[in-house]
Amino acid sequence: MRNMADKKNNEERLERLMNRLAESVLELSDETVLAEVNESGTDPAQEAETTRLVLRQASKNFDSLEKRLCNLGHAIDSNDWHYVDGTYDNYCLSCGAWVSFETATGEIQGEAFDRSCLGNAYLIKRQEASR
């Protein structure tokens, strides 16, 4: 019991410290931020470029998802992404095929990603089902 309490305590203390340090980074002047990177032996321009690439890559991953779906003729409502446990799910408004997108890895799965839109087949099925 002592170990569990200590562990929790240590974890919380470290988390608190790191979160506070993260917040304090936001309050430093531009010069200080860049100077600190310099002093740690890293080129600030290089570190900035690496970070820029991370953002660009994320944007590229999302672009490729959208373009692929668009090229296959699927109509995805961008308001209708549903988030569950790190994965976004959506479906084609025309044919009902689903697609899922994992944000951490950029991995895309689903029938909407593998085949062209079947047009109004989904609507027809829905209409038949409602009869």
């Binding site: 562990k7 240590n10 608190r16 917040e23 309050e27 002047s29 600190e36 999302f62 988030y83 951490a104």
Partner: protein, 363 residues
């Protein structure tokens, strides 16, 4: 010189800090503040269909755009040359070259794409949208390979246009980030992940930043899912808020996995240790139950001791670190150790230098 280094208290539910106080300083500050002064965006719409012109006017006004309209590609190019730059240019795929010229609906439509090519020659980075409502999917729209990266509007519904506009805004905001803002984002992400300890499950600061970006893109046209960015909010402020919320979510997921006694909660070592021949191993790899072993306590205590040891030659830094570890707030630390605002700011700077985002820890 007065620095603002108030360590912000985060709101546990909103995951965003209280707005920081504004302190005048001779140094350059691009530190995030919530509100951003943004002038209305501008759009050039080249469309000859009157009903669509009305539709775009309404939609663009709703999205805070000031729109200029042209009914043919020649007028469109002239307006672009005279009034550029626009935040976005919408070009109808089947716009005529001049007024009074009929469109051969069965023939190839090329004036829209020619206009897009001309604009691209003037400004390669001009964001554009090609309106191709007569086509069911983007793959059916014939266009030169140079224009394949331009998004197509194939759906008249408002959500697609709103999403495309928001995406353009996000890309612009990302491109406009300065070196210091990018470095600040990286450091922020690294500290947040480091604070997660085991709950990071092998993720890095880059993973956190990437996820924040993706959720922003997913939330581009939506206020319900993803992380919707309001363009009147500073983009760095937005991303840091997203990172707080995501890292808190990762922690909750980890805690849930521990409660469910899922073995994978322990599979990824948080603090890799190297053996005598330099191979990394995890002392946690054999821990398979919800009861963390004594090794974990030792490792975390060790990390805490290591951080404190770094500041052993700096009495003030040790005091402030101890205060932060004990959960004291800025005012509490200042009064406990008799520090004034400037001294406190200087000590925090020294701590950041000592600890560093990855300071002294092998990953």
């Amino acid at each position: 010189m007065t620095h603002l280094l108030s360590l912000i208290d985060t709101h546990p539910q909103l995951g965003r800090p209280n707005p920081p106080l504004i302190v005048q300083t001779p140094e350059t500050h691009s530190t995030p503040s919530k509100r951003k002064n943004a002038s209305p965006n501008t759009a050039l719409v080249v469309e000859n269909d009157e009903s669509l012109v009305k539709f775009f006017k309404r939609c663009l006004e709703h999205e805070d755009y000031e729109a200029t309209f042209a009914a043919n590609s020649e007028d469109g190019l002239r307006l672009y040359r005279d009034c550029a730059a626009f935040n976005v240019v919408l070009i109808s795929y089947s716009v005529p070259r001049e007024n009074g010229f009929g469109i051969d609906c069965l023939g190839p439509q090329r004036h829209g794409t020619e206009l897009a090519m001309s604009i691209r020659e003037i400004n390669r980075s001009q964001p554009m949208i090609i309106v191709a409502l007569d086509y069911r999917s983007a793959s059916e729209v014939p266009r030169p390979s140079e224009l394949m990266d331009i998004p197509l509007l194939t759906d008249i519904s408002n959500f697609q246009l709103r999403h495309l506009l928001a995406k353009i805004e996000i890309d612009r905001a990302m491109g406009a980030l300065t070196d210091s803002q990018l470095v600040r984002l990286k450091r922020f992400a690294d500290y947040r992940v480091r604070g997660l300890g085991r709950a990071a499950r092998g993720r890095t600061g880059q993973d956190l930043l990437s996820e924040a970006c993706l959720r922003t893109l997913i939330g581009a046209g939506s206020t319900r899912e993803g992380r919707h960015w309001n363009k009147y909010v500073d983009f760095v402020w937005h991303l840091t808020g997203a990172m707080r919320s995501i890292s808190n979510g990762w922690k909750r997921q980890f805690e849930a996995a521990v409660r469910r006694k899922e073995p994978e909660a322990y599979l990824i070592p948080t603090f890799p240790i190297q053996d005598a021949v330099g191979r990394e191993y995890s002392p946690l790899s054999n821990v398979a139950s919800g009861d963390a072993g004594p090794e974990q306590c030792l490792i975390e205590k060790d990390e805490e001791d290591r951080v404190l040891a770094m500041s052993k030659d700096d009495a003030e830094a040790t005091q402030v670190l101890q205060g932060l570890l004990d959960g004291l707030k800025k005012d509490g630390i200042m009064s406990k150790y008799g520090l004034d605002e400037n001294q406190y700011a200087a000590v925090v700077k020294r701590i950041l230098k000592l600890v560093g985002a990855n300071g002294g820890r092998k990953r």
